[in-house]
């Protein structure tokens, strides 16, 4: 059993800087858990408390059956892969991998066996006699992984391990780490600020902001049901569009009318009944780029609820095209259409927001309106 359990763990640095606060989290055995969030939000801090590299200020941290608050890193049976790999420059790849085992006084044979095994898994058998300086970034990354693997730890920790690699390699390594997880079946905690990485790799994702956890969920559920505006905006690329609008009741009808700068949408149906209590107030409307449809290119015939927009620019990606446009005076939006759908600057568009894909958030707190 290698669950990692945080019981309202806080880490406050010297001088009162909050690293993370009131973290309550259970990372299950064999789970691949991704910590994600913007820079400085406390992901690394959280990860490092697991490693024992930071002492927790308050709360309890459990790995498996033991409370590890006071346990030095070497006794926690964890392995960590650093962003800069942290390979020992003065040791050969082989020795880098064997270092931890040697320190733990494993028999020579066993060490050799494990190093060979790990290097085969990672395909670095031919690099064993080199020094880190003589390796490419990707190769270093593999060695760093190898160093973690040979130890067969209870928990793997990764701190942005791929951020120094080029885009292509990153995708490749992503897959590889995932495969590794499938093969080793150990608990892995993975820190990244890249939401794509988070989405593709995590069994569960922990989204953090300013030292606190905002939401913990499986990737798709996180995407579809962000619990707050921050999470909604953070996950997905291009990011969700947000508009402030006021809620009112359409005259003589039960429908709800949303009015914002440059658009008005009326909504009917019980799925919007939760908005009724917001009548006369303002809310934030969120809609993902792929949920905006251009009337011209779709079968939608409705003449109602059209949002008029003017194209600023486009980003053709080949298979798809991101169109940036303004709505009204100040509102801007990004929409995702198929690659064949090309526009010119200044074109007027008539857009439809898929009604089932609208998200509503409170203006002040950013909480999702349920």
């Amino acid at each position: 059993m290698a669950d990692v359990v945080f019981k309202s763990v806080s880490k406050i640095y010297r001088g009162g800087v909050v690293g993370c606060r009131d973290i309550d989290l259970r990372i299950n055995d064999k789970e691949f858990c991704v910590l994600v969030g913007p820079s400085g939000c406390g992901k690394s801090t959280t990860l490092r408390t697991i490693a024992g590299l930071e002492e927790v200020t308050s709360g309890e941290l459990w790995i498996g059956d033991s409370m590890v608050n006071e346990m030095p890193p070497k006794d926690r049976d964890i392995a960590m892969v650093f962003q800069n790999y942290a390979l020992y420059p003065h040791m050969k790849v082989r020795d880098n991998m064997a270092f931890g085992l040697k320190l733990r006084k494993y028999p020579k044979k066993e060490i050799e066996h494990r190093v060979r095994e790990a290097s085969e898994i990672l395909g670095i058998t031919n690099l064993l006699e080199r020094r880190p300086k003589q390796l490419s970034g990707g190769q270093r990354q593999r060695v760093a992984l190898g160093r973690a693997i040979v130890r067969k730890p209870k928990v793997f920790l990764f701190d942005e391990p791929l951020s120094n690699l080029d885009a292509k390699l990153r995708v490749q390594m992503r897959v590889e780490i995932k495969r590794l997880h499938a093969r080793l079946r150990t608990t892995m905690v993975y820190v990244t600020h890249d939401q794509v990485e988070a989405m593709t790799m995590g069994d569960r994702i922990v989204v953090m902001q300013d030292g606190v956890i905002k939401q913990v969920d499986e990737p798709v559920r996180l995407y579809d049901n962000p619990r707050c505006r921050f999470v909604a905006g953070f996950m997905g690329s291009p990011a969700m569009n947000f508009f402030d609008c006021s809620v009112s009741r359409k005259k003589n009808e039960d429908d709800i009318l949303l009015e914002g700068d440059g658009f008005s949408i009326s909504l009917s149906g019980i799925e919007f009944s939760h908005l009724t209590s917001y009548r006369g107030r303002k809310v934030t409307l969120g809609i993902r780029p792929e949920d905006i449809i251009d009337r011209l290119y779709s079968q939608v015939t409705a003449s109602e609820n059209l949002v008029r927009a003017q194209v600023i620019t486009e980003e053709p990606m080949g298979s798809e095209n991101y169109i940036h446009a303004t709505v009204g005076e100040k509102n801007r939006l990004v929409m995702k259409t198929s690659g064949s759908n090309r526009v010119n600057m200044g074109d007027d568009l008539e857009l439809v927001f898929k009604p089932g894909k609208l998200h509503f958030f409170e203006i002040k707190s950013g909480e999702r309106i349920v």
């Binding site: 490693a51 030095p72 890193p73 800069n84 942290a86 160093r147």
Partner: protein
């Protein structure tokens, strides 16, 4: 056009030759004292004062070197110098780097203030403290012992400073990785930091060795008895007794200087690197 470029090439050639001549000329002047002392040390007694001077001894002899080791027991002084310089260097590298590492990578109460006091103490001229240090050595019974000379030469604020600056550039990740890999605190220093510090240790080591080997006044005062003299002291002593026996003196000077020159030539790269990065004064 072609003519112009030829002119240009010629001009460059001339320039290059002139600069080479200047450099070589300067070097000859710089190295003349060395050459002259070696030459003198090889001349028979009679030839030393010949005028005009002989640049290359016509009948070279090793008699002065022989006298150096027969009459003066330079071997013993050589051993003294070696023991002291080697011990000071090795011990100094160990202790200074330990402290330098701690100052660079640990946070502990008083660290920065203590460090600033260390740096300030660099400005006190060494001769100011000579008498008090002597008294302290005396009360510890260390006058006229290797230990006395070694213990006062081992720790150098400058060495600590140098190591600290270098260790600051070592990423913390490495230390943390080692911690996770299972190193104890001393093992981190010994197995990770120390090997990484090799370049700076080399520089510092060579300089410590040289300054210990070359130092004169302090060994003169601490080593009261002749058999404990280090080489420079023995040489100064020699020049006090045989003020005009230039053959012997030059032979002595050559013997004192040769080890440092060998060390220097062997480790030239590190010295130059160290000097240029730190502005260390020799």
């Amino acid at each position: 056009m072609a003519k112009k470029s030829q002119e240009y090439i010629l001009e460059r050639k001339v320039k290059k030759t002139v600069i080479y001549l200047i450099l070589i000329g300067g070097m000859i002047i710089t190295l003349t004292p060395f050459f002259w002392s070696i030459s003198t040390s090889l001349k028979p007694r009679a030839g030393i004062f010949s005028m005009p001077p002989e640049w290359v001894p016509s009948e070279p002899t090793l008699e002065h070197y022989g006298r150096l080791f027969d009459e003066v027991d330079f071997l013993r002084h050589f051993i003294n110098s070696t023991v002291v310089a080697v011990a000071v260097t090795l011990l100094g590298l160990f202790l200074n780097s330990l402290a330098g590492y701690a100052f660079a990578k640990f946070r502990f109460p008083g660290r920065d203030r203590l460090f600033s006091i260390l740096v300030l103490s660099l400005m006190v001229p060494g001769q100011v403290t000579m008498m008090p240090v002597f008294m302290i050595l005396r009360s510890l019974g260390l006058i006229n012992t290797y230990t006395g000379l070694i213990i006062t030469g081992t720790i150098s604020v400058f060495g600590i400073f140098l190591i600290r600056q270098f260790v600051l550039t070592i990423p913390n990740d490495l230390i943390e990785a080692a911690r996770i890999d299972g190193c104890g605190e001393f093992a981190i220093y010994w197995k990770v930091i120390l090997p990484l510090c090799k370049p700076v240790l080399a520089t510092l080591g060579i300089f410590t060795f040289m300054s210990s080997w070359n130092s004169f006044l302090w060994p003169l005062i601490v080593m009261v008895r002749e058999e404990m003299y280090t080489l420079p002291v023995a040489l100064a002593n020699l020049s006090g007794q045989h003020a005009t026996d230039y053959g012997l003196l030059m032979a002595g000077a050559v013997v004192v200087v040769i080890p440092v020159i060998l060390v220097f030539l062997a480790a030239q790269k590190y010295i130059i690197e160290g000097i240029s990065t730190t502005g260390l004064k020799g």
